[in-house]
Symmetry: C3
Subunit: 310 residues, 3 copies
Amino acid sequence: MGVKSILTADQFSRKDLDLILEKTRQIEDLLKTRKQLHVLKEHILATMFFEPSTRTRLSFESAMHRLGGQVITAVGMQFSSLAKGETLFDTLKVLESYADICAIRHPVEGASLVAAKSISIPVINAGDGAGEHPTQAILDLYTISAYKNIQGKKIVVGFVGDIKYGRTIHSLIKLLSKYQASFVFISPPEIGLPEKYIEELNKAKITFTETSDIEALRECDVGYITRIQEERFLEHATYENFKNLYVINKKFLKTCRDDIIIMHPLPRLSEVSTDIDAMPQAVYFKQAEYGLYSRMSLLLYVTNRLDEIN
Amino acid sequence: MGVKSILTADQFSRKDLDLILEKTRQIEDLLKTRKQLHVLKEHILATMFFEPSTRTRLSFESAMHRLGGQVITAVGMQFSSLAKGETLFDTLKVLESYADICAIRHPVEGASLVAAKSISIPVINAGDGAGEHPTQAILDLYTISAYKNIQGKKIVVGFVGDIKYGRTIHSLIKLLSKYQASFVFISPPEIGLPEKYIEELNKAKITFTETSDIEALRECDVGYITRIQEERFLEHATYENFKNLYVINKKFLKTCRDDIIIMHPLPRLSEVSTDIDAMPQAVYFKQAEYGLYSRMSLLLYVTNRLDEIN
Amino acid sequence: MGVKSILTADQFSRKDLDLILEKTRQIEDLLKTRKQLHVLKEHILATMFFEPSTRTRLSFESAMHRLGGQVITAVGMQFSSLAKGETLFDTLKVLESYADICAIRHPVEGASLVAAKSISIPVINAGDGAGEHPTQAILDLYTISAYKNIQGKKIVVGFVGDIKYGRTIHSLIKLLSKYQASFVFISPPEIGLPEKYIEELNKAKITFTETSDIEALRECDVGYITRIQEERFLEHATYENFKNLYVINKKFLKTCRDDIIIMHPLPRLSEVSTDIDAMPQAVYFKQAEYGLYSRMSLLLYVTNRLDEIN
């Protein structure tokens, strides 16, 4: 292909990641005194969202505008060409000339790879079903790096909730594995870490523990919380039990390390209580903000323009 | 908050309004020879429409582009994050970094106030349910000021149709009360002026009359027509009766003052006959055009840039 | 009206077409080294799509951005004002001040003419029901001109599939009739060329043949393939028969002229096999790309800016 796309968290080397983190930090700094950089002036981003995800889409579109570029967008595509039986290949093929970058969100795993094979412009995977969400993983990594010295000492990251299906967790584990990190997986047994990830961690000799006890979060540097969905459980009572146990609120936070940060990919429901929103530990809204800077960085990464930030 | 938002028609002082009207007039003049002003260059407006209102949304988006800025937009949000149970606070919180101004339309009264409390960028209420629609009121006021000398002599404004639920009427009354105006409310008794507005007008010693007789419009300087909806009535026959009586057509207009102007917030149905569209009295399309200039003015008001227009 | 709109393929003289083709070619060349021309800087295009057509809409929006302009867009309008009973006239009337050009797609024939009569800015028909799709015809003509010398020798264009209802075919015939072309119409008898087009061709003394035999395509310079829809047939078996006969694949292509080009307005289903996608004869994706350059040309045509391209 020759063209740089972002399809999976796996594709980034430690060196890539360090560069992206550094440039993201510089972008964050630049935006404190400016509303816009002009690096992607005259460029067009196509946001092709085959399933709705307003936050992610707006984040990409704002990132493009803040880089000086323009956006064309298609949402709810299921009602248009695809409904007429057209293949994803055909639908996307025409974008080659209409846009300079394509960010795609699709309910089917692997759709972004199909996209990248279809067209000769960079493709950014903005989430493909049970597959990957690599730009979320990058923004998560950037968030951790903004609060913790991930280049230096080893940090302990606790993942809470749906460890089985949470694609943002899987992608983030891959990135963190390239740094000095150990993991604590806190979940009901029904939705624990899939076997293939356990094998990968063992192979890479990365320290991790698995438990269903939320108390294990107390010694973590980072708490990454995700939503538990009722449909994962056979028994309603089991779901209710964990739903009530896995609530990060003010009271619980007082029992944790003082400098723990609480992250969440959003949307959050009751698993993170609004009573901690104003506490310094709650960084999930900052995390969403970091999504903007990270995605600006990644738009520059795929267009080979990162070195114009300095 | 510290940040300037537009939430209610009440918030504007006479001095505010006079300034906004003056600047709107200057913008209207400037656009006669230019397609774009550059005051909001590099700024991003987010239009968050939780219920559809194409005319209002396009008006805001065009206003932003004519000021040199960019737009990100979300419509039909009910199908995305909110469907997952997220609160409005969480949904909007992330916009702080994605945009510089947020225009919000929402079916629930008070939603724009929640928005303004959630985020640190200016919020513009683009209609919240039975609540307010302050930018419509400003454009209505500007329209009246374009045809009538509201700074000088007293004008008589006749409101026709659904006076009870018509939020654009309620907001406009508030603004006009700061000028020399008296009101004639013409409606079926079932949908007359709510008690709280009657009290306010009495307290402010503003002259007004209430009637169900459309003939009362004849002596007015301004006729502000709104749609009557069948569901407001218990009896179909009553609805049909008023529907047929309250029709502004060529024949009726001939019985009115020569210089009356007929306004309508649109969409209009049969209450304003198309046979008057070409008459000088019919200003409702001009009113929609004035929406553009007024909203440009208001985008500059919330960003403290009004003084850059001159 | 005084304003230049694009409503029908008929409206273009041979001289108009030659100029548009020439300027489109220059635009294609310019975009090889630049991402954007600045001719429509500060202009706003409104894309009003009353029925979905993502490819066409994105093509217009990209064209506008590549000319330096901005876009406001409304899709799924049926759920908004129109649902409230508003006329198309009223809905569009307000666009006069919001935008500088309006591209409209509508399920009802004649809608774009209503639009052009309603508003004082140029209207571009982006497809109106069973009516016309003139910008598609222009891009089709440009595609043919890119591969065949239409200014010189006579070319033979074979139309395959739904000749009766295919509006893109009807519009293209009109344009090609102004050049040295003869036609071969290949379709099941149920969906052959309507009588009125037969009369027009006879009147203009243009050579054409009608057949249901796909073999007739072998001697054509151009094969313009369209989809056959089952609902056009009374008998399922008849449909299945033609559906299987009318498939352009590698095997069939080997029996055709070496320099035939295969076009398709997309979306394509099984009537054009993906096994020819990589062959030089398959130009349908190039055709979609040419849609960008053609529409840039047409946006300049309606704003009288074509002469700024050189």
